[in-house]
Amino acid sequence: MNIQNMILTLQKHWSDYGCILMQAYDVEKGAGTMSPYTFLRAIGPEPWNVAYVEPSRRPADGRYGENPNRLYQHHQFQVIMKPSPDNIQEMYLDSLRALGINPLEHDIRFVEDNWENPSLGCAGLGWEVWLDGMEITQFTYFQQVGGIECKPVSVEITYGIERLASYIQNKENVFDLEWTNGFTVRDIFLQPEYEHSKYTFETSDQEMLFNLFNIYEKEAHRQMEEGLVHPAYDYVLKCSHVFNLLDARGAISVTERTGYIGRCRNLARKIAKTFYEEREKLGFPILQTKEEMDRD
């Protein structure tokens, strides 16, 4: 099965379980969790079921397109369900079946893996799912987001698309993966992989990046004061990406590192709190819609 069909299959699967199919969020980010569709929506009592593909940038993992396993940008298929359904593990295993992975022919295990992202004030408990020894999915019950206790709890399922595809297509090199008929990952992504790696490690303007960090941070704070959560959060994402670029370049000593992460965390926490308050002011509209639907 090529990647395009994998994505279509997963979208169909989760759509059938009532997930809203979203598109990737248009600001650079390191993981699907950082999308506002996850980070913000996991906060508060409103139900929320979504699925989307998230291109995730990890500047430090860039390898000029030369390493068979590492990418500057890979793809995650992200599912969020709030509250976490009782049969979520079965739903997930069914998605593997839909992808043509018959559990009876493999060794599938749920191995403890707790997830923490201190820079976003997030913590969760769950597993990494192993397929014949390979980690193909992160499976997490969010316990805290942006420093706020989750109630109800969301479950997050993150498939590593390339990982899973390399298994399904039995390829050793990520660039050999077929995206769709006649197109491989190499055709589509090799050049940007090379260029982004070169940019990240060699040609980026560090001074400009440091300036950008400060500018973005300032703007995030300013928008927070206006009570505008989403624009503020976009700037936090930008801060985070700029930070990752600088970090990959080795431009940030470990001393400074803690400081920068702390600055991102403060912003994220503030935004989480404000988002909750803003939704509360609106009377948690999705919760009301849901109640009306249940009544009908």
Binding site: N67, P68, N69, P83, S84, P85, D86, Q89, L93, P103, L104, E105, H106, D107, I108, R109, F110, V111, E112, N114, L125, W127, L131, D132, G133, M134, Y141, Q143, C150, K151, P152, V153, V155, Y167, E172, S253, V254, T255, R257, T258
Partner: protein
């Protein structure tokens, strides 16, 4: 009385493997305690577990609590019966309180006084009616990590999926969150089905039919024998790491061992790298040849049967290949960099925000190592080695390999240092300085490794204490306890007579100079010494030294550890000697009275008033001279107890607290001098003598 078996199974989403066994034991212990508390007798209790279930099976649980027959004692006859022979209010009230009537009263004599008694009978409840209390037992379980799920309020190890609760063939009714008890269970996630359990005794067998070996010991043994089979068939040796075996046992419900291979070229990687990749990351068992060489194979344990094993092996091979290619890449990259350029990177790595960079830590450790080498009178060669080893002790922390495999710190340091042309002794010390890595690990073998290890650990302890990171209760994020124990054990194994107070002071001096300390040096030193005393106490307890003897040797400065332990052991072996009590009492008298001295001065022999004072003085002079020499702890002990005669005679004939001030002070001075040499051995007045 009729009996039935009891069965309780909590079905869960996969629990963390490391918590399964303890959770099972906890559930079993709590149920057992509850049965005993409720006076419900039973024959036998068994516990089972798998990643998805915690089970307790109790055989022969009687159908009702024991009836209680007891006699209750009431007021004495003269209070219970008035002058007219009528029951008093006291007697009537007592009966009412006991649920009895005055007709039930009989008298019983206790110590010659007759008291009112009634026989009480409490009918036991039916077990069946009490069993729903199992619900509270389940919700009272505690786990190292709890979670919440969906919109439930319960915190538990993982979400509860089903509850199987049977008393005989009857379901015990209760529910937790929205899960209600039933008589069914679920088999293996892929191979099994949902099945009904008719009777508790059917449980194990029924689950086996659904591809679940629910008895963890049986599961472990199954894995063990499968490993042996693979060993024999292929003429391999598969060393069993018990910890890994335990983990794997708790990762699968129906184990099937299988093996795969990796490319021989990867054998060029250091063995520890290969083993770590297999064990820590993939939970594989590495494979060796009869002569102990690592072979390009691995064994993994699948959660399932024998179907499609080749496919599973192939998948696992692919994963390991990717991991090893990564490791190989890092290994080759690391070989391109020089130690000096790696050392430069340490300047940018913060060890702790308030303590500073790794480079700064290394500098302190280097200085302390050199001071120790001087004090321990190392050879010139060893001093050079120690200095270089300390200087480069942390260079491997910034290599790619240690970044990827943090557990290989030190080990990679040794490997790379050798490759980069360092002396073997230097390379070895880099690895050794992390020892002992855990409670079962050895202390460093080489002198240099030992000194570096002690210096590094002491710097960590001193700098943490300096900024207020002090272990308390279960809080010890920097594993300072383990490090302190490591220092003590290393000093003991090396028999180094270095005073601990000197070590603490030397480490703190640098920390104070670096401006890290939040308190005065002396204050921190005191806290650290007290912390070490607790560690030493543990070590002495493990060596089976009696508690009060430990207190006695720890009453003063710690000083040299080998000497301290020997003194404790001398006391421990001599404590049953004839005369031990009298000897200790004599020495304790000195300690006790010496505390009355306000300030000690010189002894003026002209002020002696009797010969016993003189005798004691002469004896003191004689032994204190000997004690100055390097003599064994048991010789010191002999010398001290040889004072007994003179001490006894002295106190029989001398009043220390004499009226004459001059005489009194002189006598106190003598006591203080004596006390000083006694305390050097132990605070003998802490010793309990009977």
């Amino acid at each position: 009385m009729t009996k039935r078996d009891l069965l309780l199974e909590i079905g869960l989403e996969e629990m963390p493997a490391r918590f399964v066994t303890n959770s099972m034991i906890q559930l079993s212990d709590k149920i057992q305690a509850w049965l005993m508390e409720k006076k419900i007798s039973f024959e036998n209790i068994k516990a089972f577990s798998s990643p998805r279930r915690l089970t307790v099976q109790v055989e022969g649980v009687v159908e009702a609590q024991e009836d209680i027959h007891e006699e209750s004692k009431g007021p004495a006859r003269k209070i219970a019966v008035d002058e007219n022979g009528e029951w008093t209010k006291a007697a009537i009230g007592f009966c009412r309180g006991q649920g009895a009537s005055v007709e039930d009263i009989f008298f019983k004599e206790i110590n010659g006084v007759e008291y009112v008694h009634v026989k009480k009978f409490i009918k036991g409840h039916e077990t069946k009616s009490l069993l729903p209390e199992l619900q509270q037992i389940i919700t009272s379980l505690t786990f190292p990590k709890n979670m919440k799920w969906a919109d439930k309020d319960l915190r538990f190890i993982r979400p509860i999926k089903w509850l199987l609760a049977l008393y005989g063939s009857e379901v015990i009714p209760f529910s937790i969150t929205t899960v209600e008890t039933s008589n069914w269970t679920i088999g293996h996630r892929f191979l099994g089905n949902k099945i009904e359990i008719k009777e508790p005794k059917d449980y194990e067998k029924a689950l086996l039919g659904q591809y679940v070996i629910v008895n963890p010991e049986e599961r472990k043994n199954a894995i063990r024998s499968q490993l042996v089979k693979i060993e024999v068939e292929n003429k391999w040796v598969i060393p069993i790491d018990e910890e890994l075996l335990e983990e794997v046992t708790n990762l699968v419900e129906y184990p099937t061992a299988l093996y795969g291979r990796f490319e021989e070229e990867f054998l060029a990687l250091p063995e520890e790298v290969l083993i770590t990749s297999m064990k820590e990351h993939q939970r594989y068992f590495p494979v060796k040849s009869y002569d102990g060489k690592l072979l390009p194979f691995f064994v993994t344990v699948r959660n399932g049967g024998h179907e499609h094993l080749e496919k599973v092996a192939k998948g696992n091979e692919k994963v390991l290949r990717a991991r090893l290619s990564d490791a190989d890449f890092f290994y080759k990259e690391d070989q391109k960099t020089e130690i000096e350029s790696l050392l430069a990177k340490l300047k940018t790595i913060v060890y702790h925000e308030e303590i500073g960079t790794l480079a700064e830590k290394v500098n302190r450790v280097r200085k302390l190592t050199n001071e120790m080498a001087e004090k321990l009178d190392f050879s010139k060669e060893d001093k050079t080695v120690a200095d270089r080893a300390a200087e480069i002790s942390k260079f491997d922390l910034v290599t790619n390999m240690v970044y990827e495999f943090p557990e290989l710190q030190g080990y990679m340091g040794e490997k790379y240092a050798m490759q980069k042309g360092e002396k073997e002794a230097v390379a070895k010390a880099i690895n050794e300085h992390y020892m002992p890595r855990n409670a079962d690990d050895h202390t460093p073998g080489s002198h240099v490794g030992a000194a570096l290890s002690i210096a590094e650990k002491m710097d960590t302890i001193a700098s943490c204490f300096a900024i207020g990171i002090i272990p308390s209760g279960s809080q010890d994020p920097y594993a300072l306890r383990r490090q302190a124990t490591g220092i003590v054990q290393t000093l003991l194994n090396k028999e180094w007579e270095i005073e601990l107070e000197w070590l603490i002071g030397s480490a703190l001096k640098q920390i104070e100079e670096a401006g890290i300390a939040k308190k005065s040096k002396d204050e921190i030193a005191k806290e650290i010494a007290a912390f070490f005393k607790l560690r030493i106490k543990h070590i002495l307890q493990e060596r089976r030294v009696r508690y009060d003897l430990i207190e006695a040797v720890l009453g003063n400065e710690i000083g040299s550890l080998p000497s301290l332990v020997k003194r404790a052991e001398v006391l421990e072996t001599r404590k049953n000697d004839e005369g031990f009590k009298e000897n200790m009492e004599a020495l304790s008298r000195i300690l006790n009275i010496s505390s009355k001295a306000e300030n000690a001065g010189e002894i003026n022999r002209d002020l002696f008033e009797n010969e016993y004072e003189k005798n004691l003085y002469n004896k003191y002079m004689q032994i204190s001279e000997k004690m100055e020499e390097k003599i064994s702890e048991s010789d010191s002990y002999e010398l001290l107890i040889s004072l007994k005669l003179e001490i006894d005679d002295y106190f029989d004939h001398t009043m220390v607290m004499a009226d004459n001030k001059e005489v009194r002070e002189n006598r106190l001075n003598q006591m203080v001098m004596l006390a000083r040499i006694i305390r050097k051995f132990a605070n003998v007045n802490e010793i309990i003598v009977k």
